[in-house]
Symmetry: C2
Subunit: 207 residues, 2 copies
């Protein structure tokens, strides 16, 4: 079964359709209940497939989980990758922070999925953290350091600042239950962007 993929690396129409269905449903369910809390039945039901049928595409629950993680990881880092040392620091960081806030509101499930995974010690993406992500963050830290050295922004520890950006922006996705309990669900995105940008960037701008 699925031989063709190994042999000619060809996906049938049905494979593509169903795998997309499954990945989407799995993201929802895994992000809402965590790896252990999610059940294969639940995911199968959510995308209208039978459990054995789902397990025909992903033989083990863990395979599906890893597939969802990897499928979501790439796009999650696009905005950080775009951070460019040649441009103006404040507008670059503004763009990055706004992009992160947008992502938290458009795809909170992705944020929650990672949050859950890392919260539990990143058992499935530990290698990715120490590899790909480490390199990316290292290079982007260098950019921030250069901006500081060039006197374009006030001194700041690059890693601490990146963590702060992640923490604050993803807070609105990961802890939406708390945020909504405290300020209600109808605070406009534009206001949140403005407030977060002020808090994170005002201290960096040169007088």
């Amino acid at each position: 079964m699925l031989k063709s993929r190994a042999e000619h690396a060809v996906k049938t129409r049905i494979q593509t359709e169903n795998q997309n269905l499954i990945l989407k449903a799995a993201l929802d369910v895994f992000s809402a209940y965590g790896f252990r809390g999610a059940t294969v039945d639940q995911i199968a039901a959510q995308c209208g497939l039978s459990k054995p049928n789902l397990l025909y595409y992903y033989r083990r629950k863990e395979d599906l989980y890893v597939a969802v993680l990897e499928h979501t990881l790439a796009e999650w880092l696009i905005p950080l990758r775009m951070l460019d040392v040649k441009n103006d620091p404040v507008s670059e960081l503004t763009r990055y922070i706004e992009a992160k806030i947008d992502m938290s509101f458009t795809n909170p499930a992705a944020s929650k999925l990672f949050a859950n995974e890392i919260l539990h010690g990143a058992p499935h993406i530990g290698g990715y953290l120490k590899g790909q992500l480490y390199d990316l963050v290292k290079s982007k830290s260098l950019i921030i350091r250069q901006w500081v050295d060039q006197g374009k922004i006030n001194a700041v520890d690059p890693h601490a600042f990146i963590f702060a950006i992640w923490a604050v922006t993803q807070h609105y996705a990961d802890f939406s239950a708390q945020v909504e309990a405290l300020i209600g669900p109808k605070v406009p995105l534009s206001k949140i962007k403005k407030d977060v940008l002020e808090i994170l960037l005002r201290g960096l701008k040169k007088i």
Copy 2:
């Protein structure tokens, strides 16, 4: 069984001892694996009791979970409660932020327990969020607003700022796996405090 508690509200020596054992073990296990991921066997093993014996003190897994949550909630908010409008804003906020960072490093399990609970929609403490916590945050927001109105700090949205403090400080506990993968485990607490304080407070200080 446990009649005396209902009748004269008296705990025996053994009850106090074992309940403390259980709560401590349960905090560790629940925070590491989440409610669903933790097993009663695991908690029982961790505190050296048999499973039926543990269930003698907390009849259902969920009872134990709620007990752990409530037991940890109170102390978690003490530093915020102490925020006092009569003192200097910067030193008050410095004290609060430092206290939160200290807590994240002394008791990361507590932070992770809440993070996990809220991440999954706060099914067990939703009422607490909309009640106790809502009132507390409302009153403390007012304090920050007063400081702004009195011209003691630059303008900031109080709720957004409180969220930022929570997000950044708890990030070091909740996402320690990621933090350690990116900056290593041996960054001194004092440096982290200094960096976080700069990022969060520099923008608030009047020139």
